[in-house]
């Protein structure tokens, strides 16, 4: 069976840590940095469980700041 795998790149400096991508992700890939902040002081989003990513782009679609790039590969 074909397996869909994905990956995301998050622009940590554009991110405002709104958490909407974390909520939107169906496979619990994302989280907000618990301690680290970006130059503007936001706890930016990062991949907690990168291996779970299916490249569905849900996170990117709801991201208000266009911080997320999404990649998807279908492995046969």
């Amino acid at each position: 069976m074909a397996k869909v795998i994905g990956a995301v790149d998050i622009n940590r400096e554009r991110c405002k840590g709104c958490n909407l991508c974390v909520v939107a992700c169906p496979t619990d890939v994302l989280g907000l940095q618990p301690k680290e902040v970006n130059d503007r002081g936001y706890h930016f989003a990062y991949t907690v469980n990168p291996d779970n990513c299916i490249g569905c782009a849900s996170c990117a679609l709801v991201c208000p700041d266009a911080c997320i790039e999404v990649y998807r590969v279908v492995e046969k």
């Binding site: 795998i5 554009r14 405002k16 909407l20 709801v62 266009a66």
Partner: protein
């Protein structure tokens, strides 16, 4: 497959829209404006209108929209965007002309300009962000503020006997013969974002085809004004805003 192999350009399925520049947007974290900006930027590019667009910015939170989307912009006085767009389109009929307005701009101070531009059937699109509050000035009551909703100027909740009723302006606009397409959308889930994008595309196509005025209302959140987290704001919007401002097409005379 390791992660670096996945992150190859040929595998990229989503990235920041080309027309959305690198200037960080001034909106609060989680604000719906950013999502709608992305959609507008994507649709303009996908329609090949990136060198053929005149956009009109409002007064309100989106006053600086012109800093983020790389097309020609005119920043209008508060409420006057439809009048500005009327002239821009009539004098440049080959251009895609749209306004981007909030509820205070469109449904309070600019009600006359909005209704008359729509009633003349100007071939423009009005993108209408309805978050039921004045965000820019610090969370005061908007014409679309719900009954009972607390704002800086309705600290005990909006009272109909004092403040009148929330205004369903899109319903009003749908009644006018000059509008060809009036729709109400949200951008709080991936599915709703896709639908909103399709609506914006349909509206822009109507404008270019000269079918009359198109209105895309986006029922939105203002987590700062509502004093909730972005996530809670989405929940509150679904529970309170959507029942009063039902989603879907109020009018669709667009051709296929």
């Amino acid at each position: 497959m390791n992660i670096e192999d996945i992150k190859r350009s040929e595998n990229k399925v989503y990235s920041k829209p080309e027309l959305l520049n690198d200037t960080p947007m001034h909106y609060c974290p989680g604000c719906s404006h950013g999502v709608v900006h992305k959609l507008v930027a994507e649709v303009i590019k996908e329609m090949g209108q990136d060198n053929n667009t005149i956009a009109v910015a409002p007064v309100g939170c989106a006053v600086f929209a012109y800093k983020y989307i790389d097309v020609d912009w005119i920043e209008a006085a508060h409420g006057r965007a439809p009048a500005v767009a009327t002239a821009a389109k009539r004098l440049n009929p080959e251009r895609l002309v749209f306004t981007y307005q909030g509820d205070g701009d469109l449904a309070a101070i600019g009600t006359a300009e909005t209704i008359h531009a729509a009633n003349r059937g100007e071939n423009i699109t009005i993108i209408f962000i309805n978050n039921a509050i004045y965000g820019m000035t610090g969370g005061q009551m908007a014409p679309t503020t719900l009954e009972g909703q607390k704002t800086a100027t309705t600290p005990y909740g909006r009272r109909i006997d004092l403040n009148g009723y929330p205004l369903k302006i899109s319903d009003l606009l749908a009644m006018l013969p000059g509008t060809c397409y009036v729709t109400r959308q949200t951008v709080h889930t991936p599915a709703s974002v896709r639908k909103a994008k399709a609506a914006i595309r349909k509206a822009f196509e109507n404008s270019m085809a000269g079918r009359g005025t198109s209105v895309v209302e986006v029922v939105s959140t203002c987590n700062s004004g509502w004093k909730m987290s972005p996530e809670k704001s989405n929940e509150w919007m679904v529970e309170n805003m959507v029942p009063f401002y039902p989603l879907g097409d109020l009018k669709n005379n667009s051709e296929k």
